[in-house]
Symmetry: C2
Subunit: 200 residues, 2 copies
């Protein structure tokens, strides 16, 4: 599907065919697309928990104010950020480049994130935001629909997926075969209101 | 361009043809794509400052450790978040839906964000992350290249673009005609390391 068609047709869908299963190849195709999204310093700080178990989807649905798209969708992808990825053998993020620039990058990376918890959190949000949109556009291009979500109990979902202590959940994206299309867009602001030429 | 081709070919490009100008229609096409990205509650909390002035691009380049892609690119898009968009006449975000559900949404929105500065900030990061990836894929599909950036002096760039007090800068994306392609990807982590089945 053409990129612009995917961008236009991507909508937040709330009803999915609960009997539809996605193949392993389809799931892999979506994830392989997601990890081509950019991250600062190439730290690849996203972690993707792919929930296909109906039991766990149902539990997450309960922890999401009962929103049924979580139970019905074929996949629930919990996008998490590893807050300490900058400090976990970062040489591997640039293994294909010569040692000298790699070593400079490692120093610069550590200086950027060490003792900066807000920066670490912001980076998780930014990286997962970019990857989430890739997931949604890739899924749309494969004939699937999605719904990005943050209306759930983060602590309890974290316990359910054994979230490591130094990770945070950023958001979820559910993916599946739509059983009902989204209504028209709710109230888009005009470009003139949200874009500015050279400065505010 | 096919969505998957755009996802695969999008790379962070550092060299652009400084003489290339994008047309107003091209810039509008990118922005009209960006605002089709999802936001929580449809709050559309992103704000896009489109810098085409060579003088301002040069100043931002200086504030970005002299990174030349900022000066050379046709556009510098500064993605900002309005931290208080949830409280600014939010009825307009759902003007197309009936009054009763709209009123419930407004109440729920206010309860989600009021007195929650970290949540407001997270939402700016998430929304701008998703919109940034849309911008990069849209630009790639139009034959342009991009570079997402956060390595700059946020305070000084904020002053330069007259950033309102209740806004934050999330990141920048520069867009232009590549004069040199990106080197091969630096060191991608395997899917097995960053994806998990049902739980960590």
């Amino acid at each position: 599907m053409d990129t612009f068609e995917a961008i236009k047709k991507r909508r937040s869908v709330k009803s999915f065919d609960i009997n539809h299963k996605m193949t392993r190849d389809e799931i892999t195709k979506i994830l392989e697309s997601a990890i081509l999204s950019p991250t600062s310093y190439n730290i690849q700080n996203w972690r993707f928990v792919i929930v296909t178990s109906q039991e766990i989807k149902d539990k997450i649905s309960e922890l999401s104010h009962g929103q049924k798209q979580v139970s019905e969708a074929s996949l629930v992808i919990v996008l998490c950020g590893d807050l300490n990825s900058w400090d976990k053998n970062p040489e591997r993020y640039w293994k294909n480049i010569p040692e000298e620039p790699r070593s400079m990058l490692v120093d610069s990376l550590r200086n950027s994130y060490r003792d900066k918890p807000q920066m670490q959190r912001d980076e998780a949000m930014r990286s997962c935001g970019m990857a989430a949109q890739t997931i949604m556009l890739a899924a749309k291009s494969m004939g699937y629909d999605t719904c990005p979500m943050k209306g759930f109990d983060y602590d309890k979902v974290g316990k359910l997926i054994n979230l490591p202590d130094d990770h945070i959940i950023v958001m979820m994206v559910v993916v599946g075969k739509a059983s009902k299309q989204a209504p028209p867009r709710g109230g888009q602001l005009p470009l003139s209101e949200i874009s500015f030429k050279n400065h505010f």
